[in-house]
Amino acid sequence: MRVDIKQFLADAVARCLNRCMLLLLPANRRAWGHALVAEQQEISNRQERLAWAAGGIAICLNELTQRICSDGPTWTAGIAFGIVSALVDLHSTTRLAVHAVVVVVRVGSCVLVGKVGMAMDSFACIEFAPCRTGHDTIGAPTRPTASTYFMDLFRRRSAHGLGSRCAATRLMHKPTDH
C-alpha cells in the first residue's frame, strides 16, 4: 500500500490546527469551531482544506484581540500600576528601584501584575497581585473593574500588616533566610 506523504502531512497539520483552535476558543464559541471542523471534511482539495483549518486560528486571534480591547481599562490599570511598583522602592534611600522588571500576565479572568527583582540579598523573586475583572466568558457584556485590583491590594496590605508602606514594593522584597 502506497501512502501519499503530502496528503498525510496535510491531514496531520489540519488536525493539529483544529485541535489548537478548539483548545484556544472560548466556551461560547466552541460550537462554531466544531462547525468549521465538520465542514473541513467536505473539502477535497488539500490546500483549500489547510487554508480552511488555518481560518480557525484566525478566529482565535480575532477573539483574543476583541477580549483584550474590551478589557482595556483593566489592562491599562494593571500595566500602569506595575510600572509604578517597578520604579518606586520605599526601601531604598533614593526611592528608586533598580534591577526590576514588571511582568503582566493574564490568567483566566485575572490580570496578574508582578515584579521580578534581582537584588543582591535575594536571588530572584516574583510576586503577583490578582485583579478580578468581573466577567467570565468572551462575548458576554464586560464590566471591567480596574478598581478591584487596588481593593485586592489594600486587602493584602492590611492582611500582611504592612502599615503605610507601599504594599506592592514591600511584597517584592521578601527577606531571605541567612
Partner: protein, 100 residues
C-alpha cells in the same frame, strides 16, 4: 452592527431562496468567496444578534461529524433587506459621485 462588504455578501448569500433554505458554511464560503476565518465570525455575530437560526445535521457518510446549517430568521430577513438596500443606495451614490 457594522455592515462591511463581507457582512453584506454573507447576508445576500443567506437571503437567496427567500431565506427559507438551509445553507452549509462551506457553500456560503464558495458563494461569497470568503475564507473560514472571516465567514464564521460573521455568522457568529448574526447568531448573537438573533438574525440566524442554526441546526446540526447528521452526515450521510458514516464516521463524519454532523454539519452545521444556517438560515435567516424573520428578524434576519428584515435586517438583510434593509442592509442590502443601504448597500445598493451607497454604491449608487458612489457611482454618481464618480461620474460627476
Amino acid at each position: 452592527m457594522r455592515m462591511s462588504s463581507q457582512t453584506v455578501a454573507v447576508l445576500h448569500a443567506l437571503k437567496e431562496g427567500g431565506g427559507r433554505t438551509w445553507s452549509y458554511g462551506y457553500d456560503l464560503s464558495k458563494v461569497t468567496g470568503l475564507k473560514s476565518g472571516t465567514l464564521y465570525p460573521i455568522l457568529a455575530r448574526f447568531h448573537d444578534e438573533g438574525w440566524l437560526k442554526s441546526k446540526w445535521e447528521q452526515s450521510a457518510e458514516p464516521g463524519r461529524p454532523p454539519r452545521h446549517l444556517y438560515r435567516l430568521t424573520a428578524a434576519g430577513l428584515t435586517a438583510a433587506s434593509r442592509a442590502l438596500e443601504t448597500a445598493s443606495a451607497k454604491s449608487r451614490t458612489q457611482g454618481l459621485a464618480y461620474e460627476s
